[in-house]
Every structure is written in structure tokens, then in C-alpha cells.
Subunit: 132 residues, 2 copies
């Protein structure tokens, strides 16, 4: 279990580094074909939709936006795991707090962990006013 | 595994029924003492903070707000599981779409499943505009 938790933690840290690098293949690596993503603005299903969601975000990051994991807690069994993280994500001069919340769901396929679910959100005090 | 998935599904459906009934003990049942909740407006830690978050929401539901699970997908191992759901949540006359996303993280304690993580959010197109 300890070893599985370490593997999941390493996977997520590698993923965040790929996000920061704008490396789409690195971001999509270790993700299941049938991934279900609840992204900040919309819900996506399947690895192709997942890949398509990233390039606009890379453009935003390239303007100097942070994407730093500030806390990461992993719970891993033998073949299913989940993890939740808080990230600093926003323009570096503005974003001092870890406001982005991400939850990951993972399963082991042929002895290796893959992410099959991601849920990204920012806290919103009034979700009705936030509709865009 | 099939039996574990059924147990987790039943637990979540019972929890949603307790939410609709405004039954705080029913909502908090089957939750870990150290639960971490990423609620729509804020992040909470521990069962007491979790319990304290519900009464204001019950007041909103009592005005005729829906809280209906429209889809629920469960992935369960022997001792760790996660699930993600879409719910119709809002004033019944307005809310026809399943806009509320919830991800659950669970672990088995002494042979019984408990929820140790919940992440609730609505999709938000412009998170910066949604602040406050």
C-alpha cells in the first residue's frame, strides 16, 4: 500500500510538471482511454476530449500563470486509489492561495496505475451568479 | 468487487435520500472522522465541520430545491473506492440539467465502507468572475 501510494504520488507530481511544461503527451500519459473529467467549465469523457481540453490552458499558463501543488493526499488500495490536491493556479502576482481543488480517481491496469477520473474546481460562493 | 460496488452505490443513494430529507445524522452516517470535503464554496476538514455545513443547505432544499442523482459511476477495489455523480440541484422550476458534480473517495474500515472525501462543484466558465 505504501508503495502504491508512492507510485500514485509520483504519477501526479509528474503530471503537474507536464502541465507546467505544456507537454500534452506527458499530461495525457498514465490516463485511461475512458477517463471522465469534470473540468472547471465543463464535463468531458474520453481521452481525446481530455487531450483537447489542455492546449487553451497551456496558452494561459504561458502568460505566467502558476500551477503548483501545495498539498496532496493519496489513499491507495491494491488496485483502486483516489487523491485530492490543492493547487495555486492563477496569475502569479495575484494568486497566493491554493484555490484550485483537484480530485483524482485511479485504477491499476496490468500492474500500472492510470487516472480514470479528474474533478477540477475553484471554490464559488454563489454558483448561480457564476453562470457564464 | 461487484458486491463492493453495489455497497458503495447503496451508501451514496441512501446519503442523497438523507440530504433530501434534511436528516443530518443520516447524511453524516458512513463518513470518516477525518473526512476532507471540497464543498462548493469552501474546503472543510473533519466530521464536525462536515456536519456544520449541512443545515444551511437543508434550509435551501426546503424551499423546493431538487437534489436528484442523475448518473453515478462507482469504481471499487477491495478496500479503496471512488465514485462520481451528476446531480440536478437547484430550484425545481429552473434546474433541468444535472449541473452539480460530486466525487466521493471511500475506504473500508472494519469491513464497512466509509466516505473519507467529497468534492462538490458546479461548472464555472469564468472562475475569476465567480469570486466572492
Amino acid at each position: 500500500m505504501i508503495d502504491d501510494e508512492r507510485q500514485v504520488r509520483t504519477l501526479i507530481e509528474r503530471w503537474a510538471a507536464a502541465v507546467r511544461a505544456g507537454d500534452l503527451d506527458g499530461v495525457a500519459a498514465d490516463h485511461a482511454d475512458d477517463i471522465v473529467m469534470h473540468d472547471v467549465p465543463e464535463n468531458l469523457r474520453g481521452i481525446e476530449a481530455y487531450r483537447a481540453a489542455w492546449p487553451p490552458f497551456f496558452g494561459w499558463l504561458a502568460q505566467g500563470v502558476a500551477f503548483d501543488i501545495r498539498s496532496l493526499e493519496v489513499t491507495a488500495g491494491a488496485d483502486v486509489a483516489y487523491a485530492h490536491a490543492l493547487l495555486r493556479c492563477g496569475p502569479a502576482e495575484e494568486e497566493r492561495e491554493a484555490r484550485l481543488r483537484i480530485t483524482f480517481g485511479l485504477r491499476k491496469e496490468d500492474g500500472r496505475w492510470v487516472v480514470a477520473h479528474e474533478h477540477h474546481s475553484f471554490p464559488v460562493v454563489d454558483p448561480v451568479a457564476a453562470e457564464g
